[in-house]
């Protein structure tokens, strides 16, 4: 069996009385692509944000690359790490957001090289060279000097992917990366993600793009009300669902 990149065990999360994650357990092997599907409010985005500790958790454990994420375990209790230690852990986890969240006051290239220079301490000239290569990889070699406001949504999202890749992450998280895009721009972003998957990147993708899940995912997980209802190969989950809730959801979206 390949090395486990993500090992989430019984993760629980609540906002006050509202229980969002009710004991989620799943694993992702190195190089695997996992797609998380489910109705809105099911907890899929929250779970993704717990993986890089943008959200704290109330119980359970998350290991990313064999490291306990966001906490230090003493006996039976998890103590939250200091912000600078969490920041260090996040460096090896890239994240792409639904609304891109590019830095609007920086050009595309500056967006990509900001963290490598400022956080990882890479030589600016080298970072720039690598940044241009990454922009070429997402098909935007000639857009380095453009500000985000001058780019289309699809181009912005591809810059955001390049920005996340610039930190050389071992794991990439995608939070509905195409949901804010015009339909004709979705394809470009999905192509970049497909290439990334082919290159062996470990990816967890929260998505409504069933076609992408079917084509690229190694495993599909259906989540509802903060628990995993069903998981398996895309064919199995998407074409031959066993659970009534999965069937009802797929009937609505397909």
């Amino acid at each position: 069996m390949a090395k486990l990149m993500v090992d989430a065990r019984n993760v629980r999360k609540s906002y006050g009385p509202n229980q969002v994650l009710n004991g989620m357990s799943l694993t992702v092997e190195q190089g695997e692509v996992l797609c998380i599907i489910g109705p809105s409010g099911s907890g899929k985005s929250t779970f993704l944000r717990c993986l890089n500790h943008l959200e704290s958790i109330n119980g359970g454990r998350i290991y990313v690359n064999d490291e306990l994420m966001g906490y230090r375990q003493v006996g039976n209790v998890l103590h939250e790490l200091k912000p600078q230690d969490i920041a260090k852990q996040r460096q090896s986890i890239g994240m792409v957001f639904q609304r891109f969240n590019l830095f609007p006051h920086m050009t595309a290239l500056q967006n990509v090289i900001e963290a490598p220079i400022g956080v990882a301490g890479i030589d600016p000239e080298l970072a720039k060279k690598q940044g241009l290569e990454l922009l070429a990889q997402v098909g935007l070699q000639d857009k380095g000097e453009h500000y985000p406001a001058q780019l289309s949504g699809g181009q912005q999202q591809r810059v955001a992917i390049a920005r996340a890749l610039a930190m050389k992450p071992k794991l990439m998280l995608f939070d509905e990366p195409t949901s804010a895009l015009d339909p004709e721009l979705v394809g470009d972003v999905l192509d970049v993600m497909k290439n990334l998957a082919k290159a062996g990147m470990t990816m967890i993708v929260v998505t409504h793009e069933m076609g992408f899940a079917r084509e690229v995912a190694d495993k599909v997980v259906f989540i509802d009300k903060g628990i995993i209802v069903e998981q398996g190969k895309p064919k199995q989950v998407l074409d031959n669902p066993q659970e009534a809730r999965t069937k009802a959801f797929l009937n609505k979206v397909l």
Partner: protein, 298 residues
């Protein structure tokens, strides 16, 4: 069909006309001109005195002090304001209370009172000693009036007061930055101070600069209050001269003229700063971003 266009359809569209704009504008101009005429033709105003003192060395030195005090105070106030704003947005309740207390105190008492208080510090504490308490170690000690001359007292008073006001401006600017920016920065492994410095504050500047331009102009004029503790800035210089030659109105006109010149000149760096921090926000293909609210013709 285009070829069979009916001639009655071939009409010209004109924009809404605004006759009242011309009429009200004419009335306002006439009133303004007559006021200017009244001032210049008034027999009681000796215009030769105005022109004589306009370039008087004492006036020019006073202007230098005004500009110097303004710049130093705004510099100190901006740094303090940023600290206070970050403290007020902190998770740490102690920091929040401290910042809130500072802001409430300095906004809640009159500026004139604060200036006089700092000016009279020497009466409350005649000796100032800086050292380690309960030991013999003393870094600095002396008479308060020597250590804190009037100009320093004035700078302290104006800076602290201004910091309290500017803190709310900086805080508003920080709050105007989209929360997704901080999340993106965190996901890249950036620390909180780094995120504040490189991601949040540069974007907040866009919102901060216009009201801070106001504060700068306000500060320039408020330095005239330092007359009460005898700092030799522009207004003090003018009133010292007029108390000797009794030409009060003329010297008010001299100082008023220079205040107006200075506040006008300040507009230029503000516009340059606005352009600098507006980068990345203005364009889609060279067009300016749509404004929600437009007054008057384009």
């Amino acid at each position: 069909m285009a070829e069979q266009l009916d001639l009655r359809d071939d009409v010209v569209a004109v924009p809404l006309r605004h006759p009242w704009r011309w009429i009200s504008g004419g009335i306002a101009t006439a009133l303004l001109l007559s006021f200017i005429w009244a001032v210049f033709s008034a027999k009681s105003i000796q215009h030769d005195i105005v022109t004589k003192f306009l370039l008087d060395p004492r006036i020019l030195i006073g202007m230098g002090v005004t500009v110097g005090v303004t710049v130093v105070c705004m510099f100190i106030a901006t740094i303090l304001a940023t600290l206070l704003a970050v403290m007020k947005l902190s998770d740490n309740p102690l920091k929040r209370w401290l910042a809130t207390g500072f802001i409430e105190f300095f906004r809640g008492t009159p500026l004139l009172l604060q200036i006089v208080f700092w000016g009279y510090l020497g009466i409350i504490f005649p000796q100032l000693i800086l050292g380690v308490p309960y030991t013999e170690i003393v870094f600095l000690s002396g008479k308060t009036s020597d250590l804190i001359p009037a100009i320093v007292a004035g700078i302290i008073a104006l800076s602290l007061n201004e910091a309290a006001y500017s803190a709310e401006i900086v805080r508003a600017g920080i709050l105007a930055v989209d929360g997704g920016q901080v999340e993106a920065a965190k996901s890249l492994g950036m620390s909180s101070p780094y995120t504040m410095r490189r991601i949040v504050l540069p974007q907040a500047m866009r919102v901060i600069i216009p009201p801070m331009g106001n504060e700068f102009i306000g500060m320039l004029k408020n330095t005239s209050l330092l007359q009460v503790i005898a700092v030799a800035e522009l207004y003090t210089a003018a009133s010292t001269i007029s108390s000797a030659n009794l030409a009060q109105i003329e010297l008010l006109m001299v100082s008023g003229f220079w205040y107006l010149v200075m506040t006008t000149v300040l507009g230029f760096p503000q516009r340059a700063l606005e352009r600098r921090y507006g980068r990345g926000f203005e364009v889609v293909g060279g067009r300016s971003a749509p404004r929600a609210f437009k007054v008057g013709k384009r």
